[in-house]
């Protein structure tokens, strides 16, 4: 997982590996948590964009990571972009597409 922070827009950008299974998602959650601490962000003060380009598989753990990340961002500040159609459908079926602003 790649974690980047844009200070000007106070936005975290994350990119992921192709298979976000339980292990990769746990690692990603750890990196995300550490990243927030390193740049001294407080919950509700920042936005986050999960760029899903190239991600072909997501696990339940990844959905939990998305929900957890969305809770920490400012209101309406979380989005998931560049999903493959089959990944977008996972969020649709789970009823999370609107909440997590999946596109």
């Amino acid at each position: 997982m790649e974690f980047a922070f844009d200070e000007r827009s106070q936005t975290i950008q994350c990119r992921f590996s192709a298979k976000m299974d339980a292990i990769s998602s746990a690692e990603a959650a750890e990196i995300f948590g550490k990243g927030i601490k390193e740049v001294s962000l407080r919950p509700g003060d920042f936005a986050a964009v999960f760029d899903m380009k190239g991600v072909e598989y997501v696990s339940s753990a990844f959905l939990r990571l998305c929900l957890s990340a969305a809770k920490q961002t400012r209101e309406g500040g979380f989005s998931i972009i560049n999903t493959e159609p089959q990944i977008m459908k996972v969020f649709k079926i789970a009823g999370l597409d609107a909440l997590l602003r999946v596109s």
Partner: protein, 476 residues
Amino acid sequence: MNNTATAANEIMERAIMAAGIFEMLDQKKTDRIVEEVFNAGFNSRVRFAKMAYEETGIGVWEHKVFKNVLATQIVYENIKDEKTVGVISEDNLSGITEIAQPLGPILGIIPVTNPTSTVLFKIIIAMKTRNPIIIAPHPRAVRCSSEAARICYKAAVEADAPEDCIQWIESPDRELTQAVMKHKDMAMILATGGPGLVKAAYSSGTPALGVGPGNVPVFIDESADIPYAVENIILSKTFDNGTICASEQAVVVEKKISGTVLKEFEKQNCYFMSSEEIQKVERIAIDPSTGLMSVNIIGKPVSVIADMAGIKVPPDTKILMARIEGVGKEYPLSGEILAPILAFYVRDDFNSAIKLCIDLNYLGGLGHTVSIYANNDERIRQFSMLMNAGRIVVNTPSAQGAVGGIYNSLNTSFTLGCGTWGKNITTENVTTRHLLNIKRICRRRTNEKWLNFTKEKYLDEGESADDIIRGYHRNY
């Protein structure tokens, strides 16, 4: 007991008597009744179509003739040789014999958009399966639906069908329809109509096959024959002025071919509205109280819709095209509109286009029908894997394609199952087999593996699944 309950009881008493007599008919007698009902319905196809048009003001009477032909001739040819009485299959190897038995009284709820063809269809499949049927017409189509039922009933009785095998509710009485729906002797509801009515059918406690709205996206792939695709979409969307719920609601294309597709629609007399014109059409096409399409525009021709909206379009315009960006309440024309109005979307690439189709599919059309034009099997497969639709029609006008029997070998039907996505128990085109209780005689054919396996092993906690399976499948 109030008047409604008394009336419902009277209808149901007659229906169950007919059900009893029906059980005595053999296949030959049943088939004769079906043939006579088909003949009577078919021979009245033009009169019924004109009556439906005059009474409802919806659609095109000539197209309604073709709907009546589909509901009689094509349905009849689809089912006439089926076994639906007594033993319908016997397999000595498996020892299973299947016996078909009727369900009992069926309530056929009829939509205003197809008020005679749906009556003919439901009656023919009910007769073929020896089920008495009660027709509940739409309040705006009582005369034509009742007349279609009356003609079929006359033909059925003349062919020795039981008295009251076909009944119809002549007064548009919602309470009576609901009382009949909930009656303890009602076996099945075949509900075709708006979401409220279909929900009422499912809430009644009686088994129901209900078909609600669609919202059909049609994806034109870069591999498609574009003029052919556009011609077929127009053929479908203009059929009966777009009243079939399987007709296309939104065209989706990739940017690289969007210009060509747009020009082709224009060349074939479709009119792309400006943003202001789209807003004017939205105001008359959508009922603000429900957010759904307005009943006033259902099945109306382009000229009438344009007049209602106060826009000017060329006189030979076939479809009003609305180029819009998004899906949902903020984009009123992204939902189902049973009229010659078609949304048009352009997306950067294939993946974005497919994601848009998923969004459209989820916007009120889950389980119904989707459409694709492509000459690339991989693209067709990818599209099909992601859509939640009972029917994925390929290189076919979707309205005519989804009902089956003309462009493909789907069962011809005016009741299109939408699976659990649409709160249905089937994704199939509803036909005779859904109106039968199939009994199975199961003769003893022992499972040798089970008999030869030492059952005590199951009691031993030390035996793993691998050990058990190996022993169970051992070759003797």
